[in-house]
C-alpha cells in the first residue's frame, strides 16, 4: 500500500498565526491540538458545520486535558473566543453537562464553556494578557459528559468578533488556516472509493487485486464503518451462497469471527473452517457477543492490515469528502478534507464508488437519490405505507457495561438527561441494536442531534437504573464500559440505479438476468416504539422481519442511473425503503463490494463505464464472480 495515512500529518500547520493580520489573530482547531488527552474527534457533522470537533466522551468521568503549545509573537492583551455549544440546549433543559474550561498556562479563563447556546457559536472567553513566547493552551473537561469544542481564537483586536454564519465562517477558517484555494493533488486512480466500511473495503481490495489502482478514502481513523470498534455492529447475513458460491470470500478473509460465523460452524461442525471457528470461540467466548461487544471483537487492525497489504491501494484515513468536480456529467475528481488538519486533497479518477452509506458522494455529484418510504401506489409493495413519507430506520447508539469488583459510582444526570422511572426505564446491562432513534429525522444533517439524544437516553436510563430503581442493588458494582459516540446508521439516501429493487421482486423471487450477490437476511424493517408513559422522542425500535428465500440482487442496482462513472456499494444502493431491509446487513454489503470491485476492474480493462458492464461485458463479470477474490486461509 502506498502509505498516505493522515493520522499524524504535520499538525503544526493547524496552529496558524495569520500573517495578513500581522499575527493579530491566532486560529486553533481543537482537533489539531498536539495532545488530545482523553478527548476524541467527531467528524459526523462535518458536512453541516464544516469542521470536525473535539468531544469529551468520558461516560461521566472527566477526561484528561487536551493541550497544545501556541507561539505568541507579541505580548499584550488577547481576546479569546471558543467555538462550542451547550449540547442539551436543543431540548430546553438545564444542567449544562458539556461544560469545560480553557486553561492558559494551566490557569482557567473566567467563563465556563459549553454552557450556553443550542447552536454552534463563538463563546466569549474575555481578554487575557499573554507574554511573548510559547504558552500552553488546554481544554479541561469538567463532567465527562460530552462537552465539545470546535476551535479557539486568540485575537489582539479586542473588538473582533468571529463570524457564526456558516459561509463566512468557512471562508474565515480557510483564511486563518492559510489553506490554499486549490486542494493538493493526491493522485489519479482507476477507482476512487469513498467510505471505508465493509462495502468500501471489499470494493477497494477486490479492484486492487484485479489490477486497478485505488484510492480508499475514509473519514474516520479506523476502517470498518458500522463494524468498527467505534460502532460495534456485528456482521450479519450469509456468504458463499448459490449461484456464485465464492462471493463472500473476501468478507470471510476480513475474518471477523462472531455470532454468524459461529452459527455457520454449528451447522457443519466437521468442516475445517468450522473447527477453526469453534476453536477461536472456545478460546475467546466473548466473540459471541454480536453487537456492542468488546472492541477486539471488531478486528480493526486486521481490516487495516488487509488494506495496507495491497500494493494498488492508497489509503486516506481521517479524510472526509466534501466536494465533487464534474466534467461532462461525470465525476472528474473529489476533494477530501482532513478531519484533523483541515488540509484538502483532490483525488482524480476514471471511476468512483460511493460506499459512504449516506450516499454522500452521489449527493455531491448530483446523482438521483431517494430518502424515506415510497408510497404503496408508487411501488405496489405489500409493506409500503399508503402515503410516501420521510421515515427511515434509525441510528443506534449502543452501549455496554461490566461488573466490577466493588461498588462504583455514576453521576446524577438530572435535569439534563432524559428522565426515566420504574415504568419507562430499561433494566438491561447493555444497549443493543434496538437502542435506535432518529427515524423521523434527517440522518445526515441532524446526526449530531440524533446521536446526542441517544446519549441523553443511555445516560439517563443508566442513572435511574443504577442509582434510583428498585433493582439498583443489582447494578451497584456495574459500570458503563462503552457508549458509542459514532452513531450506527441504517438508512439515509438511497442512490438510484437502472433498477430499483422492490419488496415484491424479493418475495416473489423475480429473477433478473444480471443477478449478482445473494441476499439472505429477512426483509428486516425497524420502526420506532414508545415506552409506556413516555411522551418524548422514541429511543427504541422494533424489527418487523419478513423471512425470504435467498435472492440474487441485480447488478443494475450497483451503479447510478445518471452519473455514468459512479458505482455504489453498501446501504446506499438502488433499492426501495422496504427492499433495503434485506440488503443492508454487512456481510451482504461486503459481497456487493466484491461485485463492484470486479466490475470496476472490468471497466478499467475495457475502458468502459459501469452500465457497459451490464450491456456488453456481463459474462465476464459472471466469470469473475465464480472465482474467490479473498483468501480466508482456513485450509
Amino acid at each position: 500500500m502506498k502509505n498516505i495515512i493522515w493520522i499524524a500529518v504535520t499538525i503544526c500547520i493547524y496552529l496558524v498565526p495569520v500573517s495578513s493580520q500581522a499575527q493579530e489573530t491566532i486560529f486553533l482547531e481543537a482537533e489539531g491540538f498536539l495532545d488530545r488527552g482523553g478527548w476524541v474527534v467527531d467528524q459526523q457533522s462535518m458536512d453541516v458545520m464544516g469542521s470536525a470537533y473535539m468531544l469529551a466522551h468520558g461516560l461521566g468521568a472527566a477526561v484528561e486535558d487536551a493541550s497544545t503549545s501556541v507561539s505568541i509573537a507579541r505580548r499584550g492583551h488577547y481576546r479569546i473566543w471558543v467555538r462550542t455549544r451547550d449540547w442539551v440546549a436543543p431540548w430546553q433543559v438545564s444542567g449544562t453537562p458539556g461544560k469545560f474550561q480553557v486553561l492558559v498556562d494551566d490557569v482557567p479563563l473566567l467563563p465556563t464553556f459549553g454552557t450556553e447556546g443550542a447552536d454552534w457559536h463563538w463563546q466569549d472567553g474575555g481578554s487575557v494578557r499573554l507574554k511573548k513566547g510559547q504558552i500552553k493552551l488546554s481544554l479541561h473537561d469538567m463532567t465527562g459528559f460530552d462537552g465539545r469544542c470546535d476551535a479557539i481564537i486568540l485575537s489582539r483586536d479586542l473588538a473582533f468578533q468571529p463570524p457564526n454564519d456558516m459561509t463566512k465562517l468557512d471562508m474565515f477558517r480557510r483564511k486563518q488556516l492559510a489553506l490554499p484555494d486549490a486542494p493538493e493533488h493526491a493522485g489519479t486512480y482507476d477507482l476512487v472509493v469513498v467510505g471505508g466500511g465493509i462495502a468500501g473495503i471489499c470494493t477497494a481490495v477486490t479492484a486492487a487485486r484485479l489490477g486497478a489502482t485505488v484510492a480508499l478514502v475514509q473519514n474516520r481513523p479506523v476502517l470498518g464503518g458500522n463494524n468498527s470498534s467505534e460502532v460495534r455492529v456485528g456482521l450479519s447475513g450469509l456468504i458463499y451462497q448459490k449461484p456464485y458460491e465464492n462471493l463472500g470470500s473476501l468478507v470471510d478473509e476480513l475474518g471477523v469471527i462472531g455470532h454468524w460465523t459461529l452459527w455457520e460452524a454449528q451447522q457443519d461442525s466437521n468442516a475445517i473452517r468450522s473447527q477453526k471457528i469453534l476453536e477461536v470461540i472456545r478460546n475467546r467466548p466473548e466473540k459471541k457477543e454480536h453487537n456492542a461487544g468488546p472492541a477486539s471483537n471488531y478486528a480493526d487492525d486486521k481490516k487495516l492490515q488487509i488494506v495496507q497489504d495491497e500494493e494498488n491501494i492508497s489509503l486516506f484515513l481521517n479524510t472526509n469528502v466534501m466536494a465533487a468536480e464534474m466534467v461532462d456529467g461525470r465525476i472528474h475528481s473529489v476533494t477530501g478534507r482532513s478531519i484533523l488538519t483541515g488540509k484538502e486533497l483532490e483525488f482524480s479518477g476514471s471511476l468512483f464508488a460511493d460506499c459512504t452509506g449516506d450516499g454522500n458522494l452521489g449527493f455531491l455529484a448530483g446523482a438521483d437519490f431517494r430518502v424515506g418510504r415510497e408510497a404503496k401506489s408508487e411501488t405496489g409493495e405489500p409493506r409500503a405505507p399508503t402515503q410516501a413519507d420521510q421515515l427511515v430506520m434509525g441510528t443506534s447508539v449502543q452501549w455496554n457495561s461490566v461488573e466490577t469488583d466493588s461498588v462504583c459510582f455514576f453521576p446524577n444526570t438530572s435535569p439534563w438527561a432524559v428522565a426515566f422511572n420504574e415504568q419507562t426505564s430499561i433494566q438491561h446491562t447493555k444497549g443493543d441494536w434496538d437502542w435506535e432513534t432518529g427515524a423521523n429525522r434527517d440522518q445526515v444533517r441532524e446526526i449530531e442531534r440524533i446521536r446526542d439524544y441517544g446519549l441523553r437516553v443511555a445516560f439517563g436510563n443508566w442513572d435511574f437504573v443504577k442509582n434510583h430503581s428498585e433493582v439498583r442493588a443489582d447494578f451497584s458494582q456495574r459500570a458503563l464500559s462503552w457508549v458509542a459516540y459514532i452513531g450506527g446508521k441504517r438508512e439515509s439516501r438511497r442512490l438510484l440505479g437502472d433498477v430499483v429493487l422492490k419488496e415484491q421482486d424479493i418475495l416473489e423471487g423475480r429473477k433478473f438476468s444480471d443477478g449478482t450477490f445473494t441476499t439472505t437476511w429477512g426483509v428486516d424493517l425497524h420502526f420506532p416504539i414508545r415506552q409506556d408513559g413516555f411522551s418524548g422522542e422514541p429511543f427504541l425500535a422494533r424489527a418487523d422481519i419478513q423471512d425470504i428465500q435467498p435472492y440474487q440482487v441485480p447488478y443494475r442496482c450497483l451503479y447510478s442511473r445518471n452519473i455514468p462513472n459512479l458505482f455504489m456499494a453498501g446501504r446506499n444502493i438502488s433499492v426501495t425503503h422496504v427492499a433495503l431491509g434485506t440488503i443492508r446487513v454487512q456481510r451482504t454489503t461486503g459481497m456487493m463490494g466484491e461485485v463492484v470491485g470486479m466490475a470496476a476492474a472490468l471497466c478499467k480493462n475495457h475502458r468502459a463505464y459501469p452500465r457497459d458492464i451490464y450491456e456488453k461485458h456481463f459474462t465476464e463479470l459472471q466469470q469473475l464472480m465464480d472465482k474467490p477474490i479473498g483468501d480466508p486461509g482456513w485450509e
Binding site: 451547550d86 440546549a89 436543543p90 431540548w91 430546553q92 450556553e116 447556546g117 443550542a118 447552536d119 457559536h121 468578533q161 457564526n164 455470532h259 459461529l262 452459527w263 454449528q266 461442525s269 469453534l278 470461540i281 472456545r282 467466548p285 466473548e286 459471541k288 457477543e289 454480536h290 453487537n291 461487544g293 409493506r383 399508503t386 430499561i426 438491561h428 446491562t429 447493555k430 443493543d432 441494536w433 434496538d434 423521523n440 420502526f527 416504539i529 414508545r530 415506552q531 409506556d532 408513559g533 413516555f534 411522551s535 418524548g536 422522542e537 427504541l540 422494533r542 424489527a543 418487523d544 419478513q546 423471512d547
Partner: protein
Amino acid sequence: MVMLGSIDGLIRSEPLPAFTHITADSVVLEIYECYDTFGILDGFRTHIITPVCEDRLCHDVDVEFYWDVLGNFSHFTSDEEYPLTKQDHIPFSEEDYAKLLDILRTPSPAFIHLRRTELIAEPLNHDDVDGLTGATAHAVKKDMVPGAIYTCYTLWHIAHGAIHFKILEHTRSKLDAPLIDKMFSIADAEAHYFLLDHLAPVQIKNYLKRFTPLAATYEAYFLTRLMGRMPNDMLEKAEVDLLIPLFSKMENSVKNRLLHIISENPKVKAADAHQLLRELPLGSVEMDDKIIKLLLAKSGTKDVGILEEMYDHIFEDRIKMGKEVTEILKSLDKTYPQLKQKTKRYRRSQIPKK
C-alpha cells in the same frame, strides 16, 4: 401500553374477521375487531392454536390474544381445558401465566435480538452447560418462563410481530370522529402521536386546538412532528395564534419556521407577536436578533408601547444583540421620537466599560 377502555369493556366483536394474518410458522390468524360500550373501536382479538416446539413434543398452544387499537398487546386468555404447558407437559402455574403476561407486555425483551434457531445451541465443550447462546444468556433467561422458552418466544413474536403493523394500518382506515375523539381523550402519548402521524394535514389543522394543549405538556418532539405535518400555507393567523404561546417548547428549526411564517403573514401583527419577547434571550444571538427584527418589521406608530416593552426586556435581562440589531436599537428614536429616552439609555449601555 394503551388501554382504551377497560379490558371488560370489550363487549362486542364483529362476526367476520377484519383481516387475516399469517405468522412466520404459517399459522393463519383471523383478527376480529372489538368495540366498547359506545360502539367505538376498542381493540382486536384472535384465537391462536399453534405448535411452539421445533420437535412438536409439547402440546400446541391454545390461547385468545387481545390488542388495543394501536396494535399493542393487551392480554391473553386460555381455556382451562387446554392449559399452556412446559417441558414434559407440565401445566403452567399461576406464576407462570403471570410471568408470561409480563413477557408478552414487554416491548423489548432480552431475546429480541435472537432468532429462534439461536435460542438453544450445542454446548461447545463440557464446561459450557448453558444451553442459551451468546453473552446475553442471563438476560434472556430473565425474560423466559423456565421450561417454556419456545412458548415465550413464539407467542411474543405473534404479539409483537407484523400483526402490530397490520393493526395500525387497519385502525388508520377506521379513524372517524368518535374514534379520533376517544383517542384524544385518553392520557397516552402513543395515541396522540398516532393521530399526529395518521390524520390528514387538513384534519390536523381542524384538530389543532386539541393538539396544542398536548404539545404544551409533551416534549418538543411532539411539536416538531405537529409542525412537520402542516405545510406553510395551512398555517394561517388562527393557527399561528395557537402556536406562538408554545414557542419556548419548540426545537430551533421549528422556531425558525414559525418566525418565517409570522414574518410572511401580514395578518399577524406586532401585538400578536410581542409575547415572543418573553422568550428572550434564547441562548442564540441570531435567534434573538430575528425576533427583534420581526417585531420591528411588524410595528407601526401605534405599537410604541410594545417597543418600549422590548427595550425594558433587553435592559432587564441584559440581552446582547448582534451588530446590525444593536445599531438599529441605538437609533430607533429617529423613527419613533417617543423612544428617545429608551434609545439614549440603550446607547449608553453599549459603551464598553473600562
